[in-house]
Amino acid sequence: MPRIFTLCTLLAVALLAFAQDDVLHAPKTVSAGKSLSISTSGQSSATFYLLGPSHVVKRSVQLGQDITIAANDVATSGTYQAIACSSSCSSTVFQVLPASPARLSFLLHPSRVPVSNGNAINATAFVFDRYRNTVLSPAKVDFHITLPDGPTMTRTGQTTRGITWFEMGSTPKQGRLQVVAAIADANEPRVIQQVASDACHLHMTASPSGRIVKLETDPIRDCAGNALPDGTIVSFTKIDNAGRSTVDTPIKKDKASAQFQLSGNARISVACGVALGNELSVGGRQ
């Protein structure tokens, strides 16, 4: 007899639990930022909880009436638990999906890049909805690329799990390279500076005057003809009877210049970064 009683009690509890799981009826999925209605069954008053990934709602409700969830209560995408507690608690789970693409986070690296450098530029775009949820469904992002010499080209990337990326080489001409990532109404412009590469055909001339020799380079350019920026250091090195002497001097108006006092015959070389220029032999008075 006690066994039958226990069995009946367990059955009753199971039935009750089953019945209570049916107290709340929510849609399986809802779009982020859209209000929804959760229907309820029962008659008593209850405490209602909405547990989301970044937000919690707690309020009193009357079972049997629909519970309206405001749009801003489901702005974050993810798994939500709706719970109603009276004498016991029952719950239902639903998924809030990201809304349509509306925001971009765009990273363009590096901020300065030498010209004519293969795959030196990389761009990564993250696509979000207006509530900063990552848009998981594939979306197309347009990248409008404006080159330093004017022309604009567009390439399109499709997102995977909210991310798209590409690599490109820098172009031969120095200057501003702008990339605008665009999706829906969102535009994110980024600019990087293409700078001259290493010096090419570095050449200097000497003007001796007694024990003094004045040195000046020709305009210093890279192999594509871009002038190296002012301030780039050029090194002049002299070796004569007095030993070895080096002068580091910045480029001013495309050229670099230096002056040495000579002690006998001298060999003078010039270098800029990894580029070596010509070497001169200059005879000075003993």
């Binding site: 909880y49 970044s54 919690v56 707690k58 974050t76 990273l107 990552t134 998981l136 799990r161 990326w165």
Partner: protein
């Protein structure tokens, strides 16, 4: 017979001493949730071994901090490994929980994490996390919700000076990946 007993006793004593010395490290390691990182299909950049180890350790610590944060409703626990939107959202969640008198208890049984994206410049890494979590929500002393269902998270981590930060931690549906 006597020397044998003596050696056995010495061996047992030495073993107990060693076991005791190594105890704190194992306790500390055991308190972190288990995270297994798979990086075979990561693109476009391969992940360096040291980076993988760092990401794994930091992500495990982040989950421990998260669990402690939502249990105690303390946002200061988020300062070490959360940043950006992840930190903003958890801070808001804790504020709401505190206001409503709720707390959440996580029993963390581990994370199977797949690294899927590592940007060419090494500035962002995206992870897919299949987590085995038991979740219990309390209103005061009363448990109002309990779940043992596996959960999935899409994670974005970014490197800092000496660690990887969780920048985004989004729960996604079971069919997301």
């Amino acid at each position: 017979m006597k020397p044998l007993l003596l050696w056995t006793a010495l061996f047992v004593f030495a073993f107990m001493l060693l076991a005791r010395e190594s105890e704190p490290a194992s306790v500390s390691a055991a308190s972190l949730p288990k995270v297994v990182l798979h990086a075979e299909s990561i693109a476009p950049r391969a992940i360096e071994q040291r980076t993988g180890e760092m990401v794994t350790r930091n992500y495990a610590q982040a989950w421990l901090d998260l669990a402690n944060c939502v249990e105690a409703n303390r946002t200061d626990l988020l300062n070490d490994l959360f940043t950006g939107e992840a930190k903003t959202r958890l801070t808001r969640l804790v504020a709401d929980q505190r206001k409503s008198g709720l707390r959440t208890h996580y029993e963390d049984h581990g994370h199977d994490v797949k690294a899927v994206f590592y940007s060419p410049d090494g500035g962002e890494m995206q992870l897919e996390d299949s987590a085995q979590l038991e979740m219990q929500v309390f209103d005061g002393q009363k448990m109002i919700y309990s779940s043992t269902s596996p959960r999935k998270y899409l994670v974005l981590m970014t490197p800092g000076a000496d660690r990887w930060y969780v920048r985004s931690l989004e729960s996604v549906g079971n069919d997301a990946f």
